[in-house]
Amino acid sequence: MPVSTRYPKEQMHRIKYTKLTPEQILAKLSATAADGPTGVSTMTSFAGTPMKVVLDGGPALIYRFSDRGNVSFSEGEGKAVDARYGALTLDNIALITHLIPGTQRGYALIVDQDTNLATAFELWFSGYQDNREVQRQIYYGYVDQAGKAAPTERHAMTNRIEGKGFYWKQDTGIETLEHYPTVLYSNFVELTRFGGELSFCSPSDYIKINDDKYIYSRVEAEFSGTMTTYVLDPNRVEQIGMRLGFNDSDALEYYMFRGRGEWTGQIAQFEPFGDVGTSLPQRRPSAAAPAAPPAPAKGQRQVYRPMKTNPIMTKAQLEDAVAKKPASVFPDGSAMAGNKGPVSTFLKGKDLTLRYDNGEAYNYKFDDVQKLRWKRDGAPESAWREERYESWESAPGVIMFGHLLSGAPDHDALSIVVDFDNALVTCLHGTMGTPYMANEAAVKTLFGVVDMKGLVAPKYRRHQFTDELVGRAVSWNYRPGLTSMHLYATPHSLSWIIFLDNGAGGLEWSGPASYVKIRDELYLAYWLEEACNGTLGTILVNLRTMRNCGVDYHGGPNGISLGSVGAHARHAGRFNTVKYFTPKSSERQS
């Protein structure tokens, strides 16, 4: 039976990519180096064109192209080797790539044939503890022209395409959404390869060739380690590119592609006016890291590797941690609650039952502003349990509150939004532990109604999942010095971005998410920091007051914690991407 969308057995962040050895990598590369990159589109031939590329701080690259696909190549004074190359051109911009036979190295070279300026990506494997992760060193330079003076201009890193987003369809049929919300990272949605449910983030390079052409490159660090590099024309939305790496079957992908796309939008930049991002802001000595940073090593870049600082725990380890330390429930001074609103008194004194459509129902007695009792509906009076809670009135009559379900085997936590004007409730029911990690939260969304004296609940109406947030970017200032930006990248995932000192987007990561519409411009969102630190974040986003309130639920070496969240928002723009997430019929695909 034909299927319209091939969903993977595991999403990218769940795949246990093989730790390939250098020997395995070399063997796989050697087989491919003899053939060169594959491609669907006709490659460009540079036959008969000798080329010497002079690189600032790097080796001279000397090419003697003999025919379409074959080249004699040497680095500086090194011995020339025969290699297979591939080349594509976009107007007068050429992208040439080749491996160096017998090594784990290669190059991607971009040459502007109008200006003779060049950018070279030296590429290699086995340069990081995960050998399969492609490493790169970028050199800027020019193609030597006999008898002519060397140009003084260079291609350069840029923030001039920060904030842009595109839909791309390669000649291979691969479709992606690619957003450039930071100068260090990018966000991409694999519509074809991974079913388009989640977005993922990778360290990325952005280089300006001229005002109409740019180079984009990412390495899927912490995943397959694959590199994708392309030249793009944002006006015509065309690209020429190459991809190098090992897929989830450990097969080498080394191909070139030509693509066309659609512009999906431009979100805000927060750098000072006049800052065009030709360098990254100097990392200043700080109280946390007083020593001057050492000179970067070859290929060094900032990569967010969340699993390095978030150890995977077993169930036994988690239970041990929980037993040693009482749960931390809404402590004062949470880093992410510096701009939270006042705790609400709305619930104090109320008795009610929240009835969910899956049959679960909870009785509540709100004894005080931060003290409640709950029991499952129908349970005996002896089943009442007392919990500390916090609540906030995000909009008149709309209350969000959260609490633990003490005694629950999975250390359950509830984040609940009640609309008393409509007697509707939505609950994000968090539990600790997934098949992958014991210290990772899972969540289910429950819709229901409020059963309370004086309220008549609707029979059919419920809060509903929404895609109204999809594509939006909103910055969140939690307190002085701590601001992030959410990019609600897909209906089922969001990204969070940390800003650099100059306001440019910096590190970025992504996790599964969902959005429920409570009222106009009022949304309940959650995100799961899966394969990361395991946190379940739940926030009620009010786009009229530009503020959120919410609950962070976390399990780890310090046990279980439930903390409050509160931040001020700013609109940062929107990508028009909703249409790309509509389920396709098999007929449409064919």
Binding site: A335, Y478, G481
Partner: protein, 175 residues
């Protein structure tokens, strides 16, 4: 006019040569006051005091530049007892004032100790806590701190040690 020193400037222009002027100033200063003392208004005594003040200014300049670089070991080396050198918590930047001539520097009559009072604009930094994933992520790119600019007064006490002026005590207070 004041300018803020940056680490880059410091490395490029002043870093290597910093301790030389201090040593030179001390070496060129007239000998200490004899046990019996002498008239404070003599030319020799006035020259000696001026040399001391100049050496202390140079010392203060070095202190500021090391602060701006976050070079705690270099700061400690400016103190008489490096092992107990107090580094003002959170102090990460201070202006290098060209008007430092207005600093109040007083050298004791025996020229063995001195004090200084200096108004400066400083940038302080406090670490955001408690830890949470977002803060951890921010720290990985050099953030996770709150930076503030304020005016304050440094009050230093100096002691001459082996012929070279050293900071004996440094205090800072916001004004």
């Amino acid at each position: 006019m004041t300018t803020r020193s940056t680490r880059r400037k410091f490395i490029g222009t002043a870093g290597i040569a910093l301790s030389a002027p201090i040593a030179a100033a001390a070496a060129n200063a007239p000998a200490l006051v004899p046990a019996g003392g002498h008239d404070a208004d003599t030319l020799e005594a006035r020259l000696a005091r001026l040399a001391d003040v100049d050496a202390i200014r140079t010392l203060n300049h070095a202190y500021a530049m090391h602060v701006n670089e976050g070079a705690h070991e270099a700061i400690a080396a400016l103190f008489a007892d490096p092992s107990s050198a107090p580094i003002e918590p959170g102090l990460v930047q201070m202006t290098i004032d060209h008007s430092a001539e207005q600093d109040v520097i007083e050298v004791a009559a025996d020229r063995r100790t001195a004090t200084a009072r200096m108004h400066r604009t400083v940038e302080t930094e406090s670490v955001i806590g408690p830890d949470c994933p977002l803060v951890d992520m921010a720290r990985q790119q050099g953030g996770g701190v709150v930076r503030q600019t304020e005016r304050g007064v440094f009050e230093h006490v100096y002691v001459r040690q082996d012929g070279i002026w050293k900071i004996q005590r440094a205090t800072y207070r916001r004004v």
